[in-house]
């Protein structure tokens, strides 16, 4: 299992080198961006790249011919993505700190929550999509996600006052806890769905 998680780093070795300049770019030029968005993009960098690399060759044939179970291959993707998310956020925080880009713990928490929601939707799709489309799907998904996020939040704020009132009435801890519970819950459901899809796949 650990080996499968490590594999995602080995296959994108050259891309990893770009990771730090990538965040530095945002730290320098992204001063109009919310820090949570920078955290979200950095946390998705390695997991998404892992899928994009995996679909370029018949990696499913390779991995399934090695002594691994299909459920381990899926589990490695989910567990690995969390591991890489945490590592990336740590690295990104350090870089943002060095470049004097102010952020709060709230940004990290929102990024992590959105990371879970995004991957919960995206990963099962990656197992359904035909190879060759994952990169495009991930990118366009991310763009749509970014564009829709603030209008949706605004819409909720304006029209669904009962929801916003309820949310603002919650204490910060309760807000964080329920947010965490929902996003992690979605992530776990997605894991089960992906495993069911992958179990039935033929290569």
């Amino acid at each position: 299992m650990f080996n499968l998680i490590k594999k995602d780093l080995v296959i994108q070795k050259s891309q990893i080198l770009l990771f730090i300049p990538f965040i530095m770019f945002f730290a320098i030029f992204g001063d109009h961006m919310s820090p949570f968005f920078i955290f979200l993009i950095s946390s998705l960098y390695i997991p998404l790249n892992g899928y994009i690399y995996d679909e370029q060759v018949e990696s499913n044939i390779l991995l399934n011919s090695l002594p691994y179970l299909r459920k381990e291959i899926v589990a490695a993707k989910y567990i690995g993505s969390v591991v890489y998310m945490i590592l990336s956020i740590v690295v990104a925080s350090i870089i943002l700190y060095i470049f004097d880009f102010s952020f709060t713990f709230r940004d990290v928490a929102i990024a992590a929550g959105l990371f879970f929601i995004f991957t919960a939707v995206a990963f099962p799709l990656f197992y359904v999509l035909k190879p060759g489309y994952i990169g495009v799907a991930a990118l366009s998904g991310l763009v749509v996600f970014a564009i829709l996020l603030s209008p949706v939040l605004e819409f909720i704020e304006k029209h669904l006052t009962s929801i916003t009132e309820f949310i603002t009435s919650l204490s910060t801890t309760a807000l964080y806890l329920s947010g965490a519970a929902i996003s992690i819950g979605l992530f776990l459901v997605s894991w089960i769905v992906s495993q069911m899809i992958y179990q039935r796949k033929v290569f």
């Binding site: 594999k7 296959i11 011919s65 002594p67 033929v202």
Partner: protein, 267 residues
């Protein structure tokens, strides 16, 4: 169909006959619509799957390794997957095959990719080595070397080798057993000696042919006054036609060629 332990089984059949499909079924990459596959007497379920794959060395007919990686990185991914991986064996094969460790797989020629697969398949002490068209695209020199390497591997009779090929002369050199499939059905599965005894090319005058004599042939090709046919019962043909026909040894290629237009569903 059974693959016998300790022997080399050659798997032949035309393009699209189902050779690669059979191999993928054996690796549990595909699910069977009907029938059953057992490897080492065990079927693929959660308890056995890892153990089975631990003991199989695989070589596919196309590249399945990450193209942008070099051999060192590929080793980094594959080696830890196996309990019995031996780095020494791996580097010995790399040396023997003269493969570069620091070049990306995508720069490799077909032969080098085959050698890569082979080195990886042979470095974890697999008991069962399954190869899909290993000799395709190789130059004649390396093809011979490969056959020698395979012969060496088989010397202690501990391993079992199962490989598909179109180059039937390779089989005649190293196979003990031949399995022939056509349109997903097994035509025969026999030792190479039995095949050589049973099958023969028959040549004679066309006027010997009539519906009842034709029954002894798998298929017949005729010209204006002569015919050539393949039989799977050389003994009987010798008895019934005597000196009127000439019998020649049928090569596997002859068998494949004639079986394609066969009247019988089974040979």
């Amino acid at each position: 169909m059974q693959i016998k332990q300790g022997l080399v089984t050659g798997f032949v059949g035309a393009n699209g006959a189902g050779k690669s499909t059979t191999m993928k079924l054996m690796m549990n990459l595909l699910q069977a619509d009907e029938g059953e596959i057992k490897v080492f007497g065990k079927s693929h379920d959660n308890n056995n799957e890892k153990e089975i794959k631990e003991r199989i060395g695989f070589v596919y007919d196309s590249n399945i390794f990450y193209e942008s990686l070099n051999l060192k990185d590929i080793r980094r991914i594959i080696a830890p997957a196996y309990k019995n991986w031996s780095d020494k064996q791996f580097y010995d094969y790399i040396k023997l095959f003269e493969l570069p460790l620091n070049k990306a797989i995508k720069t490799f020629s077909k032969g080098m990719q085959m050698k890569t697969s082979l080195a990886l398949a042979l470095s974890h002490d697999a008991e069962f080595i399954m190869m899909d068209e290993p000799t395709a695209g190789l130059d004649p020199v390396f093809r011979r070397e490969l056959l020698d390497i395979l012969k060496d591997l088989m010397a202690d009779k501990r391993r079992t080798l199962f490989f598909s090929t179109h180059i039937t002369s390779d089989l005649e050199q190293i196979a003990d057993q031949i399995t022939f499939i056509q349109r997903g059905k097994i035509l025969f599965n026999e030792s190479i000696q039995d095949i050589q005894e049973r099958f023969a090319l028959v040549k004679g005058k066309a006027n010997l042919l009539n519906p009842s004599t034709e029954k002894s042939f798998i298929s017949v090709k005729r010209s204006s006054n002569e015919f050539q046919a393949l039989t799977n019962n050389a003994e009987e043909v010798r008895k019934s036609f005597g000196d009127q026909v000439v019998l020649e040894n049928a090569t596997l290629e002859d068998i494949m060629y004639y079986a394609k237009g066969a009247r019988h569903q089974y040979v």
